[in-house]
């Protein structure tokens, strides 16, 4: 079997689990089952789900926020202030949600089946000028943040500004935005860290959710041995991803130091205020909207919280 896998950008921390999966699967099947990972050659990131539904390729990665209407159920994972603190927790809640029948149904409409997530740390801000560590200072702040995160900042008076990730550096340099919200690896690869004076270490407003899916027909057509090789490699691929991203996070503090970026710790009281203003209304609106569209929204949200509790209890 030969599978085409559509991802985008360059090989980076964000794609390491896919590369590992391809390696493991090929190893286990003695080279009979191979995956060609294509970085942008097969589709545009926003259309990877379309490509899966057409059957143009067998496996792909996408982010829920790219097309909220295509994958309404999993957008629960992009709600602001979910309370996820570590990549391990991110994996646990994502996989719990992916197993929910509402998610499976919605993905099946795209002929897709989610096999794993690409856990991302919380999207913290980098900014220029004086650090903004009081809620009042978010008033009028131009921030590059999309989707639910953008709404969260809007709720406290900031102005979310649409800039493509590739133009984020330019936008910061030119004052189009004052701050940019990204995960650490993206602050590095899009260069926003080079422009920054400070970084919020504990704002942790939320993140994006980027699952890896396979085409259902292709998955079911796999010979048993190959399917077994694929299924059994997922945990190891995720473990590899976590270890690799962990290395990157370890280096993060020294990167900040090297670039002279101040690490801003925000007071718990301020965080609490932010949460009250942003998290609750946005979550309630999300639950109301999604319930109106016939999704078990409350159930999905509760599932996230229950999984978090369980995960922490288990540790």
């Amino acid at each position: 079997t030969e599978w085409n896998v559509s991802v985008w950008g360059k090989r980076r921390a964000f794609t390491e689990h896919i590369e590992k999966l391809a390696e493991l699967v090929s190893e286990k099947t003695g080279g009979e089952f191979t995956m060609n990972v294509s970085y942008g050659g097969l589709s545009k990131p926003k259309e990877n789900l379309d490509g899966i539904s057409i059957g143009a390729f067998e496996m792909a990665q996408f982010c829920a926020g790219y097309h909220r209407d295509k994958n309404r159920a999993i957008t629960v994972l992009e709600l602001p202030f979910l309370g996820v603190n570590t990549l391990e927790e991110e994996v646990a809640v994502s996989h719990a949600v992916y197993d929910h029948p509402a998610v499976k149904d919605e993905m099946a409409q795209w002929n897709a089946r989610i096999i794993m997530t690409s856990p991302m740390p919380q999207y913290n801000l980098v900014g220029t000028g004086e650090p903004r560590d009081e809620l009042a200072e978010f008033e009028g702040m131009r921030v590059r943040a999309t989707g639910g995160l953008g709404q969260a900042f809007e709720a406290v008076g900031a102005v979310p500004t649409s800039v493509p990730a590739t133009e984020a550096y330019n936008a910061m340099e030119s004052g189009v935005v004052d701050t940019v919200a990204f995960a650490q690896h993206a602050h590095l690869s899009f260069g926003t860290i080079n422009k920054a004076d400070w970084w919020t270490a504990n704002l942790n407003p939320g993140t994006v959710n980027c699952p890896v899916v396979v085409n259902i027909d292709a998955y079911e057509a796999l010979p048993d041995a190959h399917r077994e090789a694929l299924d059994s490699s997922i945990d190891e691929a995720i473990a590899h991803y976590l270890a690799n991203y962990g290395e990157l996070l370890k280096k993060w503090d020294s990167v900040l130091e090297e670039k002279g970026v101040q690490k801003v710790m925000i007071d718990d009281a301020v965080l609490e205020e932010f949460r009250a203003k942003a998290a609750d209304p946005i979550r309630e609106k999300w639950i109301a909207d999604m319930s109106a569209q016939g999704l078990p929204a409350q159930e999905l949200y509760d599932l996230v919280q229950a999984t978090l509790k369980q995960q922490r209890g288990g540790n």
Binding site: R68, D69, R142, T146, P160, T161, S162
Partner: protein, 209 residues
């Protein structure tokens, strides 16, 4: 290089159809030009709003991405009518009479084949983003402010269908010229030498100053 009109006209049914379609094509092209203008105005509003009132246009990028298909697709048939899509005519400019019409006919038939397939394919692309039962019929919307994408996606099959009509007329025109051995058929773009074409283009610019 945008080509210059070299399509002959007369009172025949074919030529009348050609001119009616031209009316539609010109209208669509003007819409496309106005969209370019709107793009410029949008940027001025966005930059102005940001720098004077700290109020950038919400979803500026989203709106631009919505406008681009309007700009890119609507003029496609207008350009094909005048033979303005780029090609290499080293070989074909040496042909005359039936041989020339045969080459043109085959080439237009192949284009029609492609465009029919693309009407199908781009319709499917639209269809995946459209859902009667969803709010705003949308199953795919822009990242920042959630504008439904289906209207922009629908533009491709619409513009391509108009192009298909144009290609059918050109097949008729070239086919007729081939069968009857015509010298100067109506309703199809006639080849000018490259230099003539440039002269025509320069004239056009001259008319504008």
């Amino acid at each position: 290089m945008a080509g210059h009109s070299t399509v002959l006209e007369d009172g025949s049914l074919l030529s009348r159809l050609d001119r009616s379609l031209l009316g539609l094509e010109r209208f669509l092209a003007l819409l496309s030009g106005l969209a370019v203008f709107a793009l410029m105005v949008l940027a001025v509003i966005s930059v102005g709003g940001r720098n004077t009132m700290n109020a950038p246009l919400p979803g500026y990028v989203d709106w631009i991405e919505q406008a681009m298909p309007l700009i890119a697709f609507l003029g496609i048939s207008f350009v094909q009518r005048d033979g303005g899509h780029i090609r290499m005519d080293i070989l074909i400019s040496r042909l005359h009479g039936r041989a020339l019409w045969l080459f043109e006919l085959i080439s237009v038939l192949l284009i029609l084949l492609l465009m029919l397939a693309l009407v199908w394919g781009s319709w499917a692309h639209f269809d995946r983003s459209f859902d009667w039962s969803a709010p705003l019929w949308s199953r795919d919307s822009s990242i920042d402010i959630g504008i439904p994408l289906w209207p922009a996606k629908l533009l491709a099959p619409v513009a391509f269908s108009v192009l298909c009509l144009r290609l059918v007329l050109q097949i008729w025109g070239y086919g007729r010229a081939f069968l009857l051995g015509l010298e100067t058929p109506v309703a199809v773009p006639l080849i000018q030498g490259a230099a003539e074409q440039a002269a025509a283009e320069a004239e056009q610019l001259e008319g504008q100053e």
